[in-house]
Amino acid sequence: MISLTIDKTTIQVIEGTSVLDAAKQSGVDIPTLCRHEDLTPLGTCGMCMVDIDGCKDLQRACITEAAEGMQVQTNTPQLRKLRRGLLELVLATHPDDCLQCIKHGSCELQKLADRFEIRTLRYDKYTRGLPLDRTAAGIIRDMNKCIGCGRCVTVCHEVQSVKAIDFMDRGSDTIISPGYGVSMGSSVCVNCGQCVVYCPTGALYEKEMIDEVWAALDNPKKVVVAQVAPAVRVALGEEFGMEPGSLVIGKIFSALRSLGIDYIFDTNFSADLTILEEGTELLERISSGGTLPLITSCSPGWIKFGETYFPELLDHVSTCKSPQQMLGTIIKTYFAETHNIDPENIVSLSIMPCTAKKFEAARPEMQDSGFRDVDYVLTTRELARMIRQAGLQFDSMKDEKPDPVLSQYTGAATIFGASGGVMEAAIRSAYELKTQKTLGSLDFTNLRGIEGIKKASVDIEGTEIRVAVSNGLSNARTLLDIVVEAKKRGEMPFHFIEIMACRGGCIGGGGQPLENTLAKRAQRIEGLYAEDKNLPIRKSHENAEVLGLYKEFLQKPGSEISHRLLHTHYTAR
């Protein structure tokens, strides 16, 4: 421990603590703009400058390490003048349309301008007049509002290793872009939306489909059918003042009904369905010497990443569609048939934590039903907006149930939203299906949590099945590099790998309530496992509705009809 003085307070901190964090511990909130607790600090903005005794120049608190005996001043007249001056400089290049901006009320630049009372701008205003880039499926880029903090580049390079964007040009011409003459839609961007998560202003945001959904709801000819993802039920409450991890699924169903959705189903149903299909696929590959490791396929950000950077591993990826897409197909085939609805009139809607799901729903091949399997994807944030627009008091709504037939789910399904959840769900079923024995404990705790790469091995009747789980695409890359190298040596370090594009899993998706920090993701994860623990049925193969669907329609996992409707293929990019 080292001790230092921040203004008038002397405190003790562990070695390696930044002056910024030390100040926070001592009760002083030094202003920051470019820094985020989850990301490597770049030191671009200069808002956190502090005056350290003995240093000729002011120092950036975010990248300066606390040292024994340091005397730091955080609130001198020079520093106050400096902070206001910096904000004036930034605001001089920033559009003035706060009232029309999607980040109005949650913009970090706005908050600082208010905190430091920037009431006049002495500099001449200049804006770049750049066109918006709406070419990506899930993300819109408005570089006029970009302040060049660099968080999105840090995320895209360090956390996700997609490297779709970078800084271009220099000086005040600096702009972040996918390349010269490259649009976001034609770049390697996987639509994971993590850049949106960390953007402090309205420069990056989700591509909304709210208007289209209102139009469908208002159209008497259309039958709107919705599904809700696992990760949404422990996060939507945050938009209405509730704690991260609060299970609000009952209220979600109630809200959807109030909005006018005709039939409400649960993506957790098709998560159980996915386990049956994928579990069968895994067991088959293991017993018949098929391509291993098998890699999960429910994360569309991962799928595009794999198609771009690991095309040689595409035949390892499970042919199973994601739960979203499986349910969309079932809705427009089985459900439409059994309920005498013309699938032409069905609007298949999904509520997702994820911006990449918008890309997935629009993939050309996702029309096995004969129609777009999923028509619209609304992120958690978009649903929150619709709820507010409809005047619903979400936090005081009564719990309701979804519509039967495609909504029953087990604990195994709900943990799909957490990193390691798909793997754990798969093991629960694969073990029992293979051995016909009951598992002693259903809790594989070493697969849980926010850790980036997790490994485990499970004994299934004397065979050691080695599994690995990764969340965040940089971690996926690390894991897959190991697989590629091992393949060259003829080795197979794992039988089964779960990959989720976002840190922590889907609960950290690009469409989740902001702020979407790692700390909040950890809380949401706990919410899902808590729900799992409390559910009466916790194994996918015991889901009666799913078994009923097989009996009445799909016959059995891996059947011809299952393959036609519930499986897909991939394309190297």
Partner: protein, 416 residues
């Protein structure tokens, strides 16, 4: 007047290795190789060689940080970009081997395994000639494997892409590694963690040339020239309104007045002198008595910098000088940090508007304040230094700027 010609004599010789060796070249390297590397560092310390790139940092202190960890690198900073500076061009054109010999001695002293000459992209012909010089040195056994027992060293040339800020140490290293030329935060210093996380020692062309001279002629010789705090001969670059602009060699501490005399005197009537490059203050004729060495210039609140002196006479408009220099900062800013990225642009806008007759009364105070913001919060010395030209012009020549601003309204109102 005292002029030396340890560098300048090479103007009359060819740059090839034979002429260089005839003039005692590579005897420095031979001397160095008879000593333990630490003793070579000691000689540089006793000579008290200060870096000639602009910062004036004691070279031996930089080298002493070497721990012998491998691989480690010597980088020659040949990205001469400071306006008013052209001495490294001179050395690389007329006596490239002086620099190369110094680089090899440096590598030996710090136990570096690989060298890079990072030369600005605007010197392509010099780069080609340097390649030949390196081949000559290799043929003579001064580069390559086993230059001496346990000492092998090769040098690659990297050509820059046109950026001033990559003259800054860490920005240069980033550029060399293939990244955007933006600086990174120190500590850790490059001597500890530089290229690819390895120890890296960066020295300016003229500094390395001095290393050769010191090992050739001894540290006592070096200290006998110049001042006690800033010893040695110095290449000064004088340009602007003097009769004979050019590179002049004189002992450190030579006065501005003497230097101008060497350059044939001022054309017309002296108005202003900028010392140290675009990042240095612009003085009135008061600077004539200044001594051009690191300590004296620092004590005047200025810098010696690269030793660039630009002379302006009464034909020069200071509003124009401000506009030129603010545009330089705006175009060369790397764009990493907010204060410099936005500050340089606003300063350039204001300076342009003053010249265009659209200046506002508030500009002068606002420019000074912007310079303060940049001094306080810029990430690297580039942004911090803008206050020197800005404030010196505002302090010494504000009348001229104010006149342009005041006249806007007046002329509009009273014109016939």
């Amino acid at each position: 007047m005292n002029q030396t010609d340890y560098f300048l004599k090479f103007k009359n010789l060819s740059p090839d290795i034979h002429d260089y060796q005839k003039a005692n070249g590579y005897s420095g390297l031979k001397n160095a190789l008879t000593l333990a590397p630490d003793l070579v560092v000691e000689k540089i310390e006793k000579a008290w060689l200060l870096g000639r790139g602009g910062a004036g940092f004691p070279t031996a202190i930089k080298w002493k940080a070497s721990t012998g960890k491998t691989p480690s690198y010597i980088v020659c900073n040949a990205d001469e970009g400071e306006p008013g500076t052209f001495k490294d061009r001179f050395i690389m054109t007329h006596s490239p081997h002086m620099m190369i010999e110094g680089m090899i001695i440096a590598a030996y002293a710090v136990k570096a395994t690989k060298g890079y000459i990072y030369i600005r992209g605007e010197y392509p012909e010099i780069a080609i000639n340097l390649e030949n010089s390196l081949l000559e040195a290799e043929e003579a056994g001064f580069l390559g494997k086993n230059i001496a027992e346990g000492f092998s060293f090769t040098i690659d040339i990297i050509k820059g892409g046109g950026s001033y800020v990559v003259g800054d140490e860490t920005a240069l290293l980033n550029s060399l590694m293939g990244n955007r030329g933006i600086p990174w935060s120190k500590p850790p210093f490059p001597a500890k963690k530089g290229l690819w996380g390895q120890p890296t020692f960066i020295n300016n062309v003229e500094t390395l040339a001095c290393v050769s001279l010191i090992l050739q002629n001894g540290y006592d010789w070096f200290r006998s020239i110049g001042t006690p705090e800033s010893p040695g001969p110095k290449l000064y670059c004088i340009s602007g309104k003097v009769t004979n602009p050019g590179v002049y060699e004189a002992p450190m501490g030579t006065t501005v007045k003497d230097l101008i005399t060497m350059a044939g005197g001022v054309i017309g009537t002296l108005k202003a002198i900028q010392i140290g490059g675009t990042a240095g203050p612009i003085y009135t004729s008061e600077a004539l008595d200044f001594h051009l060495d690191f300590t004296s210039m620092n004590s005047k609140g200025g810098i010696l910098g690269s030793g660039a002196i630009v002379v302006m006479n009464t034909d020069t408009s200071m509003a124009e000088v401000l506009e030129v220099e603010m545009r330089f900062f705006a175009e060369e800013s790397c764009g990493k940090c907010f204060p410099c990225r936005y500050g340089t642009r606003q300063l350039s806008f204001m300076a342009n508007n003053i010249v265009l007759g659209k200046g506002k009364r508030e500009f002068l105070e606002l420019m000074a304040e912007t310079a303060d913001i940049m001094q306080g919060s810029s990430f690297c010395p580039f942004g911090k230094s803008v206050e020197m030209p800005v404030k010196s012009i505002l302090n010494n020549f504000s009348g001229e700027l104010q006149a342009l601003i005041r006249q806007n309204d007046y002329i509009r109102e009273v014109q016939i």
